[in-house]
């Protein structure tokens, strides 16, 4: 499935999607970056038995990973790199198998040193997890020609 550019420069969009496709942890879990816009990124996965926890639903770790990644890429959509320093999630509903799960990350404020973001994880229009993340801003993205 093609990833959507919701309004950032093509060069930056291709860079973000490219690093997502080559990213070992996303490939292991079957997660992909499905959309990127200004201060916004979506990660998607189709849940399967490999994602199961002992209770027979999807392991919360998958949702936590997607929430973290959607915020990290929302930050990258602004040309910035942020390292997660704090991460907090409400697990509102369990994720079912065989469904498309989408994490929507948004930057709330990008300061000089700290970046604040949030992520909401959905199955269809059902809210599964609500996350806040705080990031330390390191360098900016510098794409080589």
């Amino acid at each position: 499935m093609e990833s959507k550019n919701l309004g950032i420069e093509d060069k930056l969009f291709n860079y973000i999607i490219g690093t997502g496709e080559e990213m070992p942890f996303y490939n292991l879990l079957g997660v992909r970056i499905s959309a990127v816009g200004p201060g916004y990124a979506e990660l998607s996965v189709t849940t399967r038995r490999e994602h199961a926890n002992p209770l027979g639903t999807v392991h919360g770790g998958l949702l936590l990973t997607m929430a973290d990644g959607s915020m990290g890429n929302a930050i990258r959509s602004l040309g910035m790199i942020g390292i997660t320093v704090d991460f907090s999630t409400a697990m509102i509903a369990p994720a079912p198998f065989g469904e498309e799960i989408v994490a929507q990350g948004r930057v709330l404020k990008a300061g000089r040193n700290m970046i604040f973001a949030e992520s909401k994880v959905y199955a269809g229009d059902k809210l599964l997890a609500d996350t806040r993340g705080t990031f330390y801003r390191t360098t900016d993205i510098n794409i080589k020609e």
Copy 2:
């Protein structure tokens, strides 16, 4: 490597270790339950390239998953089942590759409805992540003979 029983009933210990070994998400990530005691559980993993994030270190999602699982199993060591409702982590230091990472989960208070726990994730004696989790208590574990 053998898992350590730090002082719970053998039947419960074997049940917990058994469900861990059959758990799809742990097997996908290479995570195992390395020790269980009363109100305590340890999860271990040897980090490898498959766990990488775009910054060239281990993806935070692996640590978040281990923290969540170590608290969930610490709760099960008391014969209880808890569903994660809230989860909050400080990401203190990045995790290196090729090292043994251990998440130590501890129950702080098991109430009638809510269970509070914490988890600390280490590489050797270096603290990588500090987590608090809040769980809703459902049923108790009932092991069939």
Copy 3:
């Protein structure tokens, strides 16, 4: 200043505003309930020197208190009572003195046992704090005639 009813039953609205006016901790801090709607509540305060921290800005504890209270009253607007079990805040910007600070609490999901809410604290249109709260649902509100 009058409190606004944004669409709940008058009896419940008057009950909520009345308990707010008689509430010792709100009176100590100068906080009042300024608006209530379905699944929504606003708390307001005008910051003054009494609210200062050692850095010469408003103490974060005031914002934390308002965030907590705005979520608790948003829950009460649904006729429910929830006890805070988990509370997490990003402190995005310091609060200035002599300004109207408003905390907007919203219920995200009211389940049978757990209630999830969020609160955003503003000075004008500047976001100061972003909070998530998880609540255990006890009894429903029963207003005596």
Copy 4:
């Protein structure tokens, strides 16, 4: 009651206790700094009716404020100043009236840019609240002779 110096330089100890005594928000709430040691600080309060919430127990905002302050002063005990950027608390048990409540703040790691701390709030030996805080490190404390 006298504040205890648990092992930091007298000049720094007197500075911290002095700013606490002059601090408007602490005075409003009746909170005092009762002990300071290396990377550690205790805040104490005797709870009274003024601290009440609508449920007839102590408002959670008092505990949140004490947790925040105990971590901030634990950081100052190292000669550093940290601004709260993230704050997360489990509310484990309600605080009773007429009792001494103590918040014990501890620095977990003081990095070059970020400082991680925790706080536990007790009534006697009963744990009421468990908090983690993340702070941005600004300048160091410079005490004028």
